[in-house]
């Protein structure tokens, strides 16, 4: 869905980490309507691109604009490969995030419980978050992000550390988050996930975007030799 946050326009976006050029003059446009999966080999710059779009990394060159504004938009969230949860209950983790974002009182309570219910973890609301299984922790992290009602959700390899059952559940929830009107951008190594989930594929190689194309055409006929090798499993 298009709204005030989009379009996203990145022009000549560069990020230098120490002596390493992690992103090199990246141009990227997103309208927020399509599910975007960023693919690439290890160290290609997928996570750096995601963190830069989210605002965790400051670009060392180029511009990043959301609906024409250079300001980092507030209504966005990110879920990481390894969820970082506080040493408190599952519901308290979600309520903490809401509190930080100025949601208090009954509204905070309602949104936290609603988000936990949507990821199917209402029965674990009062359990300590860090003793839950990996899949449950990732679902709490998704609920925490969802409760914030973000306009865009970034996910960095959200299923990489999970067993197939937990990964399928996470994939289902991310689909529901998108269906609820949140733009979704995720990185993944999982070609199966990318095939099932992506509307658009962004292929990144050595810090450069070499392809941004509809998923069907990417998987049918990748334009670059590197993308072909990646699809054949020849790139790490």
């Amino acid at each position: 869905m298009a709204d005030a946050l989009f379009p996203l326009e990145a022009r000549g976006l560069s990020v230098r980490l120490g002596s390493h050029d992690a992103l090199r003059s990246v141009d990227l446009d997103m309208d927020g309507t399509r599910r975007v999966v960023i693919l690439g080999a290890n160290g290609a710059g997928k996570s750096v691109l995601l963190r830069t779009l989210h605002g965790l990394l400051a670009p060392t060159g180029g511009t990043l604009r959301w609906a024409g504004s250079a300001a980092r938009p507030a209504r966005q969230a990110m879920v990481f490969q390894r969820p970082v949860l506080l040493r408190r209950s599952a519901i308290a983790n979600i309520e903490y995030a809401l509190s930080v974002n100025g949601v208090d009182g009954e509204e905070r309570h309602r949104r936290a419980h609603s988000a936990l219910a949507r990821v199917g973890l209402s029965h674990l609301a009062d359990r300590q978050a860090r003793v839950l299984s990996g899949g449950e922790q990732q679902r709490v992290a998704l609920a925490r992000a969802w409760a914030l009602e973000p306009r865009v959700l970034f996910l960095d390899e959200p299923t990489a550390s999970l067993d197939p059952t937990a990964a399928a559940e996470v994939e289902r929830i991310v689909g529901e988050i998108h269906a609820s009107g949140t733009a979704v951008v995720l990185t993944s190594h999982n070609l199966g996930l990318a095939r099932r989930f992506a509307d658009d594929i962004v292929f990144i190689e050595e810090g450069r975007i070499t392809e941004k194309t509809p998923a069907e055409s990417f998987f049918a006929s990748p334009a670059s030799p590197e993308a072909s090798l990646f699809l054949q499993g020849e790139l790490p």
Partner: protein
């Protein structure tokens, strides 16, 4: 050897017989050490956490200074506090030299660097794990300070108890600013030093046993609490 055995028996009698002199000294020791620990933690935990999460000019110098203060000779702290609180000093008008308050101040200054330096280390390690997630949620570094202190509460309990142990076991600074006045500023450590020099080994031994027991009990409690916390909170 016979003297030591006899002294040990007498010491145990003093403890089990609830000797009033012994327990007056023990009570005062625990009171001033507890007060100093609370003050040092109230200042040192936020200070250490703040240094851990903030980046500012001179941060390295602050960290080096905190670490260096860990090794500061306690008699020097005692001397500085003495000079500050003596009649000619800037705080002489308070009239608290040779009172328990002076001991609390000296112990606080001794414990503060320990608490701050260790809290910084604990929080900095945790910040490495939490930083991206908390930043992503919109948490500012300033707001992260209480969040991290609460999240690490069971680990930091070890720091608090270490600080208490340091305060309770201090001799030099306490002797200088307290004066070891019987019934007023005589605490376990200064009493042990005095009674040993007087040859009253039973009282010195009894105080030593109580001191060691307190430290041991606190550390056992901290260990058990951390184990429980890891099982419960992950």
């Amino acid at each position: 050897m016979t003297d030591i055995s006899a002294s040990l028996v007498l010491a145990l009698r003093l403890i089990t017989g609830a000797d009033p002199e012994l327990w007056r000294v023990v009570t005062l020791s625990l009171e001033v050490s507890l007060a100093a620990s609370i003050l040092a933690c109230a200042l040192g935990l936020p200070l250490g956490a703040w240094v851990a999460v903030r980046r500012f000019p001179g941060r390295r110098a602050v960290i080096v200074t905190l670490n260096a203060l860990l090794g500061m000779p306690s008699v020097v702290v005692g001397l500085v506090v003495y000079l500050m609180l003596s009649r000619a000093g800037p705080f002489g008008s308070l009239g608290i030299l040779f009172t328990p308050k002076a001991i609390v101040i000296a112990q606080t200054l001794l414990v503060l660097p320990i608490v701050a330096a260790m809290a910084r280390q604990f929080v900095e390690d945790a910040w490495g794990e939490y930083r991206e997630q908390l930043t992503s949620l919109g948490v500012t570094p300033t707001r992260a300070v209480p969040t991290l202190l609460i999240d690490l509460r069971y680990s930091l309990l070890t720091v608090v108890l270490l600080g208490f142990g340091r305060a309770a076991s201090e001799v030099g600074a306490v002797m200088i600013v307290g004066g070891n006045i019987d019934g007023v500023t005589r605490v376990m450590t200064t009493a042990i030093a005095l009674e040993t020099s007087k040859g009253d080994l039973p009282l010195a031994l009894a105080l030593g046993i109580v001191l060691i027991s307190v430290v041991l009990a606190l550390n056992t409690a901290a260990y058990l609490m951390r184990e429980w916390s890891e099982r419960r909170h992950g």
